[in-house]
């Protein structure tokens, strides 16, 4: 038993000789917005399918809201509290969006008097309320993805799993999705976001795991992952002073770049400059971008 929203222990999936997921071990605390980041084919969708019982793991264990994958009844009950937007989002084209949401509300076991009000609520949140009575077959791809999002929000699930939720959306839609995720976080929901879009993950996630070739390459908070070790200062009145004990220093006019300095020591550096009679005009800690880090990690693989 575990209190994490999602926990996996050495979860693996192989299709013949192809390894889709190679021993995934991770724990996602409740209330987190967690980004599962990786290039296409990294095993992100496989992980989600295993967690939801849509595919069966070759080995390893997983727990969804504390319910073990190995216990089908407990796992099924846990799925009552999970919303899921699949990467391949398709809904019954012969139904209206409202009817699709009604079917899902019924399958979720929501009380009957809530079906329609809940359908209208999530349709409004997802931005399809004005077309909720149209058949899904008449929807654009973007609208269908919004319907999938509405479906995932139905019944205010504890855990929302979104697999590439903005793949069919325009910039306005992407912005809307980010707002929805922030709203979910504010209400205390856990969000598991599968994405290959760095900016998307960077803007909404508390923590992130970077996966490649079925393995977690690294994980942690952004601060942990992107710990900067470089600072730039604009200084005057300090000709030839030696700052090498803080790191390697490069001078370029009034700008000095110190590399290899721990963030904790930046105030000491500034105090030293002042002590030596220098004037400090600017201090800029340099952070590696997620993209640089991401590409660097994938290259190391």
């Amino acid at each position: 038993m575990t209190d994490a929203a999602i926990e996996t222990v050495d979860l693996a999936k192989r299709y013949g000789t192809l390894t889709a997921l190679a021993g995934l071990t991770m724990s996602i605390p409740r209330g987190d917005v967690f980004g599962f980041l990786g290039p296409n084919g990294a095993g992100k969708t496989t992980a989600v399918k295993l967690l939801l019982g849509l595919a069966r793991p070759t080995s390893g264990d997983a727990y969804l809201l504390g319910a073990p994958l190995r216990e089908p009844d407990a796992h099924r009950q846990a799925r009552r509290k999970v919303g899921y937007l699949p990467e391949l989002f398709r809904y019954q084209g012969w139904l209206t969006a409202r009817e699709v949401l009604g079917v899902h509300a019924e399958l979720l076991g929501l009380p009957k008097h809530e079906w329609d009000s809940e359908a209208v609520r999530v349709a409004t949140v997802a931005g399809i309320a004005d077309r909720a009575n149209d058949r899904v077959a008449t929807y654009s791809k973007g609208m269908q993805q919004r319907l999938g999002l509405a479906c995932a929000l139905l019944g205010r699930p504890e855990l929302v799993m979104l697999d590439e939720p903005t793949s069919a959306l325009d910039p306005v839609g992407r912005h809307d999705v980010r707002e929805i995720i922030r709203g979910l976080k504010a209400d205390g929901h856990t969000v598991f976001l599968n994405s290959h879009l760095l900016s998307e993950v960077e803007q909404v996630c508390d923590r992130v795991a970077i996966v490649d070739k079925g393995r977690v390459v690294t994980s942690g908070t952004f601060a942990e992952l992107l710990a900067g070790d470089t600072v730039r200062l604009r200084l005057t009145g300090l000709d030839g002073a030696d700052l090498s004990r803080f790191g390697t220093a490069d001078r370029e006019g009034e700008w000095v770049t110190i590399r290899g300095i721990h963030a904790e020591r930046i105030p000491d550096l500034v105090a030293e400059v002042v002590r030596l009679g220098g004037r400090v005009h600017a201090v800029q800690p340099m952070q590696e971008s997620l993209e640089d880090r991401f590409l660097g990690l994938l290259r190391e693989q």
């Binding site: 399918k49 939801l52 019982g53 849509l54 595919a55 069966r56 089908p72 099924r76 009950q77 799925r79 009552r80 999970v82 899921y84 699949p86 391949l88 989002f89 398709r90 809904y91 019954q92 012969w94 139904l95 079917v103 899902h104 019924e106 399958l107 979720l108 076991g109 999938g148 479906c151």
Partner: protein, 286 residues
Amino acid sequence: MSPTLVIARLMLREVLRRRLILALLALTVLAIVLTAWGFSRIPSLTQRGVPIPEAQARLIASQLLILVMFMFSNVLALSAVFVATPALSGDLESGIALAMLSRPITRAQYVIGKWLGLAVLVVAYAAIAATLELLAVNAVIGYLPPRPVEFLGFLIAEGLVLLTFGLLLSTRLSGMVGGVIALILFGMAWLGGIVGGIGAAFDNEIIERVGTATKLILPTDGLWRGAVYTLEPAAILALAEGTGPAFAANPFYAPAPPPFPYLVWCALWLAAVLALAIWSFSRREA
């Protein structure tokens, strides 16, 4: 409502919304009107300028009715295959199954729900089409086969056999592949029945066993022969008995009703194939 019934209703709604039922019913009504007109012409037939006697007209009607019902049973069989073979595979291929199966529903509930929805359809179509045809024939020529209710039972059972078999194929094969396989086997079962009849006619035990085996493997022809028997008036049975065992090879004739153990076998077959479909779908990854 239980998840099974939610899926059953959804399946029914899909078939209704996709206008399959509408097309089927419209063509069925057209067929009933045309065949009723045909039946109404039987009494006007003459032999050497003399109108045929009423008894002969009724005999002709009984044989024609078997042929017409053969057409309906085929329409039912084909429709059952067409709706059942994509029922699960279509959801998997399109991705609809992903969102559905992630809900608190078991694979068994999903399969049984689909089966129930389709079964309602098979029962409704068989009952409506066959009853209308029987009423129409009775209205125009005053003929009613000896056991109409049993006939309905056999017709529905044949439809359910194909529907269940189609659903089993749908757990692993795409709709088109499953449909082709189901139809070929359906045709082979029918031929197997004829082959078995030939074996009986010529007292060839091995050939006769081929017929028995096909009736057991896919009980569509066995049930069809049961349906034929319920449509045969006593006069036809007496007439056929006079012509000897060779008549048994005729696919539109049955010398006797299927034995009770065979009906039990059919029920077990249905249950086993549905169970197999559930097992197979439970192991299928979405």
